[in-house]
């Protein structure tokens, strides 16, 4: 029997099978990607920090360490570098206490709606500075104008003081409103910010160090 000329392109079962394959494969792929992402963004533990296990999101006790942000030639962007032990509000926080403080910070951040003006990890507004790496902002370090203005000696105390009384420390940038943040809530928020700065965000926000260099050269660090 001679084979007839047939048109596969006008065959409904062909398109049905193709569509079923593409949709089915994409569904499985998306489910797989979701679980892959869950593993990538799961929070590390205190033991991970002590054993030097790299986690994208370090455990809450990362607030007990000095955090730096350095250009990685290998990865082509800046990465957080967790360094030596550093007291946070004058003490070393246990795993339980650090987790509780971070939780308070997260709840305060949600209750006061920081994202109304600020951006956190890419979510929020750009009315006020991006807070993703705020902990590393040189303005808050020793010798920086924000720390100098509050009259405190550490980044965490200066930030906590500012958060409680923002209207007392006006800058050339848009003024932060007084949100009635308590001393304990301010501590939580600063812990939240310090932890957030230690998260590996694949170099987001882009060109952070560039703004730091501009700042050191006498330029403005306001975004």
């Amino acid at each position: 029997m001679a084979k007839k000329n047939v048109s596969v392109w006008t065959s409904v079962p062909f398109w049905r099978r193709s569509a079923a394959w593409v949709t089915g494969f994409a569904t499985i792929l998306l489910i797989w990607l979701s679980f892959d992402t869950l593993g990538q963004i799961s929070m590390g533990t205190d033991a991970d920090l002590k054993n030097g296990v790299d986690k994208r999101v370090p455990g809450p006790t990362v607030i007990n360490y000095h955090i730096d942000y350095k250009m990685s030639k290998k990865r082509g962007h800046e990465v957080p570098v967790i360094g030596e032990k550093q007291l946070f509000f004058g003490k070393e926080w246990s795993e339980k206490d650090a987790a509780a403080l971070l939780r308070l910070g997260k709840l305060t951040e949600q209750a006061k709606n920081c994202m109304d003006c600020h951006t956190l990890l890419g979510n929020g507004a750009y009315y006020a500075p991006d807070l993703t790496k705020a902990w590393l902002d040189p303005a808050w370090q020793k010798g920086g104008p924000m720390q100098g203005m509050t009259g405190k000696n550490t980044v965490e105390e200066a930030m906590a003081e500012f958060l409680q009384h923002p209207s007392q420390y006006p800058t050339h940038a848009r003024m932060m409103p007084n949100l009635g943040i308590t001393a304990q809530e301010a501590k939580g928020l600063v812990a939240f910010l310090k932890h957030m700065s230690s998260i590996d965000t694949n170099g987001f926000p882009r060109n952070f160090s560039k703004t730091v260099d501009q700042f050191k050269a006498g330029g403005t660090n306001a975004h």
């Binding site: 084979k3 007839k4 047939v6 048109s7 596969v8 065959s11 079962p13 062909f14 099978r17 193709s18 394959w21 593409v22 494969f25 994409a26 792929l29 990607l33 892959d36 593993g39 990538q40 790299d54 986690k55 994208r56 290998k74 990865r75 990465v79 590996d200």
Partner: protein, 50 residues
């Protein structure tokens, strides 16, 4: 073609995503290749049907 993995955590998709468009090219390839098989099996079925 194969470069050292540079991401924080090892993952299959991270490995595929090391160069420009590598993930896209890989996914398109594995999605489209079976469609050749679908095409020819469907062609064979239509030919035998008539």
């Amino acid at each position: 073609m194969f470069e050292a993995f540079t991401d924080v955590n090892h993952s299959f998709f991270g490995f595929l995503n090391q160069g420009p468009l590598t993930l896209t090219i890989f996914l398109h390839t594995i999605i489209i290749l079976p469609m050749f098989w679908i095409y020819f099996s469907e062609k064979k079925r239509l030919e035998n049907e008539q």
